[in-house]
Subunit: 317 residues, 2 copies
């Protein structure tokens, strides 16, 4: 297979990667296998620590180091009770690329920068982008309403979010949400992004640690298969199923945050994504699921995106 | 002022216009003055009949014909009780470009095609795009979740909607929702669109018939200033104000469709857009309002978009 030419931007240079394409850190999906596959092919693979205890994260980092000499990173959701330990693990293991999300990086940035880390924070609006820049983040992921999993409350879409964040900050911006292919990458670059973070497309890859049922739910999705629910708790985008229907009915009746938390219970992400329970689990996935038709090796996904990026760019009138 | 070079696509050829940029038909905003200004500058101006009785529409069409020799069109919301009369008016006055929205064009397509009209239908999902194509529409406007005013129920964003509609139909696709500038136009083209329909940016133009208060509300908006409400009635995107806050509180309490209809009452679009009541009216506007900083003449808006389109395209790595 011919390997497509490199794409050089501030983001590819920041991370020293061939293509400014980041594989999102995703719970129950992106262990070292997926991260290594993406990094070895020239993107930036992220281990998603959101579903890992510190010990397990350590194991995944060590396996990643054994399996690639290329840069890779770790995503850390800062709202985790043990975020301190996760961050200490990353530093102890010598990981130099950290993506933080779901929280404010201000508390941890000095520690990470002192350890020599490049820190990128995920934001859903201009306000949080400015905040991340002001504390010293090196880059920003601006993630739109169409993204899978946890989402911002302002519902700002990728089309509106990227240019406004690009206009507001000086550090480079990575676009996320709704980008499964090279057309989306070219569109994101037109809006001013210098990199893309891609989740759902890589969740349906061979190296993804998700359950086959979950991968197939993405492959079988249509344009209108996902829905954003639980806005009174933490907004989350998932593929519609019996559970989401129950939540929507409760929300339409005016259920309180407490009632919704009880209905949500615990372990629904794991149930859907890792154990394959498509009725009762949270099938977290982006709105672009309808554009994903095959489970493919991560390297093939990456090369297809790059090739289509070039084709798209050259076709513009 | 130097006039930028033309952009030729299937859409510019279909309508015989210099730039494949359509000014959306908007209630209380796009009378003949705005439509003529856009058409004279090389785009396609649309008279928005949504806030007009047939007699008034006739007057606007006649004034448009007196003020431009260029192609212009009329937008007709098909859910209007007097849609038949509006369509008859358009045919009687010899308008050859009709954009239909909010309803199904199947009932009217033969009549319009027999009168020599080019018919374009506005859709929020792949299903309705296929339906519009199957009855014989010449083009489609695929309008994303970020668009102002009335909106689809599936909340599909421009980033996800455009490529899926482009892949599904053979007729050319015009992108709408979240596009205020040339970056957005280039992004929409990367996603496969051959034209863009732009509403809010033209609503804040000199020639827009909207109230100054309404135009200023757009100019003053931030990235998170709009909200999609009234999902149990007809989803509508507007700039947040006292009225939207009341609706959100009612929705959070579980208000029924009937209760929401009563709260909505009548005439709120007119109140905000035409009369300038920013507290109690529906300030219908797109999520890209945060990117609009000045009230400008329509021709300048159009030329700026085209120039920025070319700059953006040439900057892509």
């Amino acid at each position: 297979m011919e390997i497509p030419g490199q794409i050089e931007t501030k983001i590819s240079k920041l991370f020293n990667i061939r293509y400014p394409i980041i594989q999102a850190g995703m719970v129950w999906v992106s262990g070292y296998k997926l991260a290594v596959a993406v990094s070895n092919a020239g993107g930036l693979g992220l281990i998603g620590s959101g579903s890992m205890k510190p010990e397990l994260l350590k194991e995944h980092i060590q396996k990643a180091k054994l399996n690639t000499t290329k840069p890779f990173g770790v995503n850390i959701p800062l709202l985790r009770g043990d975020a301190d330990e996760l961050i200490q693990t990353v530093i102890d293991e010598g990981v130099k690329i950290v993506f933080t999300s779901a929280g404010h990086p201000g508390k941890y940035i000095d520690k990470l920068k002192n350890a020599g880390c490049i820190v990128t924070h995920v934001v859903p609006s201009v306000k949080y982008a400015l905040k991340a820049e002001s504390v010293g983040c090196d880059a920003i992921v601006a993630e739109g309403f169409e993204a899978g999993g946890h989402n911002g409350i302002d519902e700002i879409t990728t089309f509106c979010l990227i240019p406004q964040v690009v206009d507001a900050v000086k550090i480079p911006v990575i676009a996320a949400g709704g980008i499964p292919d090279g057309r989306g990458m070219a569109a994101a670059f037109a809006l001013g992004a210098e990199g893309v973070q891609i989740g759902t497309r890589f969740a349906a890859s061979v190296e993804s640690s998700a359950h086959e049922n979950y991968k197939k739910a993405i492959i079988n999705a249509a344009d209108n298969s996902t829905v954003l629910i639980l806005k009174k708790v933490t907004p989350v985008r998932m593929i519609k199923n019996e559970f989401s229907q129950k939540v929507i009915e409760a929300e339409n009746r005016g259920a309180t945050r407490e009632e919704l938390l009880e209905l949500l219970g615990r372990g629904r992400e794991r149930a859907a994504i890792f154990e394959g329970d498509l009725e009762n689990g949270e099938i977290e996935a982006g709105q672009c699921s309808g554009m994903i038709k095959e489970i493919l090796p991560a390297s093939e996904i990456l090369y297809n995106i790059v090739r289509e990026y070039y084709t798209t760019k050259n076709k513009l009138v």
